[in-house]
């Protein structure tokens, strides 16, 4: 009787030890998630290689800002409305090959090494394509972009998505003046971001 009780105790200890070990392993191996993200550092937006800011010029930039500024601010706005705490890269220098092709060819771990040391999570945004066409009757633009959020320490991507945005105007229907007032590339990229970040989970209030 006593031996059976002792045997039960020993078995009980073993089960407890195994359970504890399992719980510890799970907590160590648990991948980081968006819900864990305290502050996300927003890295500068990458554009296609060989494309300059002059190539992305639009009408009325004095009113809307350049596409580069507009895209970065739009990214901050979209993520702020989802409840994320954001930061800009600090104490960091942008590598010379900071373009979409170069960055997208890297692995998540390689990207994580490009982030500033102050960052815990970093968001990379790649503008893969942005172009516009205009003729006397109509004008249009379309853009393709993708985004990835990476946990710096583990080098793991915790969220990624891509999107396509279009914008078009008919000068005859809307009037040339109204059409000129809308920067097409800005609107197309805004739509692409809308698609990308509509899937980003919202943080609770």
């Amino acid at each position: 009787m006593v031996m059976r009780l002792v045997d039960h105790y020993i078995k009980g200890y073993w089960y407890c030890a195994l359970l504890l070990l399992g719980a510890c392993t799970a907590s160590v191996a648990a991948p980081p998630t968006l819900q864990d993200a305290d502050t996300i550092t927003i890295m500068p937006v990458a554009y296609p290689a060989g494309q300059t800011a002059a190539d992305r010029e639009e009408t009325l930039e004095s009113l809307y800002g350049t596409l580069d500024e507009y895209v970065y601010k739009a990214l901050l706005r979209k993520m702020a409305l989802k409840g994320y705490v954001l930061d800009r890269p600090r104490g960091w220098t942008r590598p010379t090959d900071w373009n979409s092709e170069s960055l997208m060819s890297r692995t998540d771990i390689e990207l994580s090494r490009l982030m500033p040391e102050s960052a815990t999570y970093g968001a990379f945004l790649f503008v893969e394509q942005v172009k516009s066409e205009s003729n006397p009757l109509s004008s249009s633009a379309d853009g393709v972009a993708s985004a990835v959020i990476i946990h710096r320490q583990s080098g793991q991507a915790i969220w990624r998505n891509s999107g396509h945005g279009e914008f078009g105007e008919n000068h005859l229907l809307q009037g040339l003046l109204v059409s000129l007032l809308t920067p097409n590339k800005h609107a197309a990229m805004e739509n692409a971001f809308g698609e990308i970040f509509s899937k980003l989970p919202e943080k609770q209030f």
Binding site: L76, A80, L81, V85
Partner: protein
Amino acid sequence: MRTDAFVKLMMCACAMFLLASCAISTKGLIPEPPVSGVRQIDKQVQLMPVQGGRSSSFGREAYITNEQYRDAMRQALLDAGSFRVLADEGPIDWQLFSDIITITTEGGVSPMYAIVVQYWLVETDTGKEIWRKGINTRHKVNWNEAFAGGTRIIMAINGATKKNLSGLIEALSKADLPD
């Protein structure tokens, strides 16, 4: 003729009403009642100029100026008694910096406003950053809380900013700071 003059007068009155309702006042940004029950930090702290704010412009998103944000933060910290002394002169122990990373409004009849601010403390003697905290606060105003759309936007801005400053005070109170 009289009808024309009356219509113009009414339009001017409406424009003035809309402009008045869109003005952001510093007083509206300060948490009220003040955040209470906070730990007072026994340091003399200088509030550094705020970065990232700008004035609102017609047809664009409503913004807060750096001066407005700094004034509201100063009053909120004084009301809460977060630091022993908040001063611009004398033996300064720490400097409190703040950067408005983004401010944004989600339009519609029930506007939502979001403001993200990074705050950090620097030890004056060493120039070392000793504490940092980023805070995102959002405030939504329902369509039935105010008649004028401009007023609802101002309410959303005030609400989000008050929450952000309250968040700063609470974070400072709980922070593990050097003696």
